[in-house]
Amino acid sequence: MTGPSSKVSGSQTSGAYATMSLVSFRDVSIDFGQRSILRHFSLDVEVGETLVLLGRSGSGKTTALKTVNAMLFPTTGMVLVEGRATTAWDHIQLRRRIGYVIHDSGLFPHYTVAQNVAVVPRLKQWPAADIEARVANLLQKVGMPVEEFGARYPDELSYGQRQRVGVARALAADPPLLLFDEPFGSLDPVTRLELQRQFIELRQELRKTSIFVTHDVREALFLGTRIAVLLKGSIEFVGPRREFLQASTPEARAFLSCLEPLEYDTEQSLA
C-alpha cells in the first residue's frame, strides 16, 4: 500500500514460490495511532504445519492473525497468502479459504446453532442436504449433538458451548488454512482434551495448515509443530517444539516455567 510494500512486491512472487510458504509475514509493522502493535514481524508458515503463537496478553497475537485474513493491513511490510499479498487478493475469496475461530465465538445472535454452523457452506451454495449432513457431523464432533442443540440460540448456551459452536462454524466449509484464536480457552479440560486429539487426527488426515493462538503451554507443545513467542509485537523466539523446550530467550523461558509444578503440592493445607 505504501512505499516499502510496493518495493518488496517485485521479489514477492519468485520468493513466495521458492519457499512455497502458505502464509508469510514480511517485515510487518502495524500502528494504531501512536501505538506500535506489531514491529517488524517476519515469519513463514509452511503447508501442513501448526504454528502456535504464544505471548502475553496484549503482545499482538490477535492482531497478527487478523492481518492474514485481510481484516487488518500492515502499516508497512506485507503479508502473503499462497504467495500473493493480502492487498492483492479478493478479500472475500481469501476469507472463504480461511477458517477463523474468534476468542468470544462471535456467533450471530439471531441464528440458531445449526444456522450459525451452516453460514459459510450456505454462502458457498452447497446443496441443502450436504449442508445438513455437514452441520450434524461437525456438531457431533464438538460434542453438541444437533438434535439437542441445533435449534437453540447462542444466548441459550453456556460459554463453552458457544465456543464449540464457533469451532464448528470455522471448520464447516473445510478451509485449507485455519486461524485459531484461543479456540479451547473456555472449555473444561475433559472436553478440551477430546477436541485437541481430534485436531491432531484431522491435521494428519487432511494436512490442514493452521496458526494457533493459545495461552496453555501444554496445549502449545501438544498441538504445535512450531512455536513462536511474541514479545510486545516482535518475535522473540521461533522454532520447532523440541527447540522450544530448550529455548534460552527470557520470554520463552518464562512460558516454559509455567509447566513446572505449582506450590500446591508443597503449600500447607488450609482445609
Partner: protein, 206 residues
C-alpha cells in the same frame, strides 16, 4: 343513527385511505430502506441526503401540491399527486431509523461476518438488516401511523380518503362527519401498528 348512504361512503373512503397509505408506504419503504443502507456506508452522502429529507419534511403540503399540479405526468389532481407527497413526508423517519439501526449493530458481530468471508451484500442481508430490524421497523411504524394521519390531506387534491369526511366536517362544523373520518383513521392506525408489530415478531426472534 348513522344514515345508510354515509355508511356506504365511509366504506369507500376508508378503502381509498387504506390504498393511499398502503401504496405510499410500500413506495417510501422501497426507497428509504435501500437508501438508508447505502447511506450507512457513506458518511459523506449521509449528511446531504438527510438534510434534503429534512427540508422536504418542512414543505407545507398545500404548497407542495400547488407546485405538483402543473407537473406533466406526475402531477395534477388525484391520488398519484397525493401519493408523491405522502411518500416524501414518510422518508424522514424511515431513512433516519434505517441509518441509525445499521450503524448500531454490534461491531463484534459485524466483524465476525466479515471474517467468515461474507460480501458486503451478504453481511447486509444476513446480519446487519436482521439485527437492525427492530429500529428500522420502528421507523416504518412511525411513518405509517403518521401517514394515516397526514393522508387526510389527500382530500385537498381530490384524491379521496377519510380526509373527505374530515374536511367536510370542518367546513360544515359537523362533528358527526369529523368523527366519521377520524375514528376509522384511528382504528386503521392501531391496526397497522399491530400488523407491523406482528411482522417484526415474525421477522426476528427478538
Amino acid at each position: 343513527m348513522i344514515p345508510n348512504s354515509l355508511l356506504h361512503e365511509l366504506v369507500t373512503l376508508t378503502m381509498q385511505h387504506f390504498f393511499l397509505v398502503g401504496v405510499s408506504m410500500l413506495l417510501a419503504a422501497s426507497v428509504a430502506i435501500p437508501l438508508g443502507i447505502i447511506l450507512s456506508w457513506r458518511s459523506g452522502w449521509r449528511d446531504v441526503a438527510l438534510e434534503v429529507v429534512n427540508v422536504v419534511q418542512t414543505v407545507p403540503s398545500l404548497a407542495l401540491f400547488g407546485f405538483l399540479i402543473p407537473v406533466p405526468v406526475l402531477g395534477g389532481i388525484g391520488s398519484h399527486t397525493a401519493i408523491i407527497a405522502l411518500v416524501l413526508y414518510a422518508l424522514l423517519p424511515m431513512l433516519h431509523n434505517t441509518v441509525t439501526g445499521i450503524l448500531n449493530v454490534d461491531v463484534a458481530v459485524r466483524d465476525s461476518a466479515t471474517a467468515l468471508g461474507m460480501t458486503t451484500g451478504e453481511r447486509m442481508w444476513q446480519v446487519e438488516l436482521p439485527l437492525a430490524a427492530p429500529t428500522i421497523l420502528a421507523g416504518v411504524r412511525i411513518a405509517t401511523v403518521t401517514t394515516i394521519g397526514t393522508a387526510t390531506i389527500a382530500a385537498a387534491i381530490g384524491a379521496g380518503g377519510l380526509g373527505v369526511f374530515i374536511f367536510r366536517g370542518l367546513a360544515t362544523v359537523d362533528s358527526v362527519l369529523l368523527l366519521a373520518g377520524a375514528i376509522p383513521a384511528a382504528l386503521m392506525a392501531i391496526a397497522a401498528d399491530r400488523g407491523l408489530e406482528w411482522v417484526e415478531r415474525a421477522l426476528s426472534r427478538y
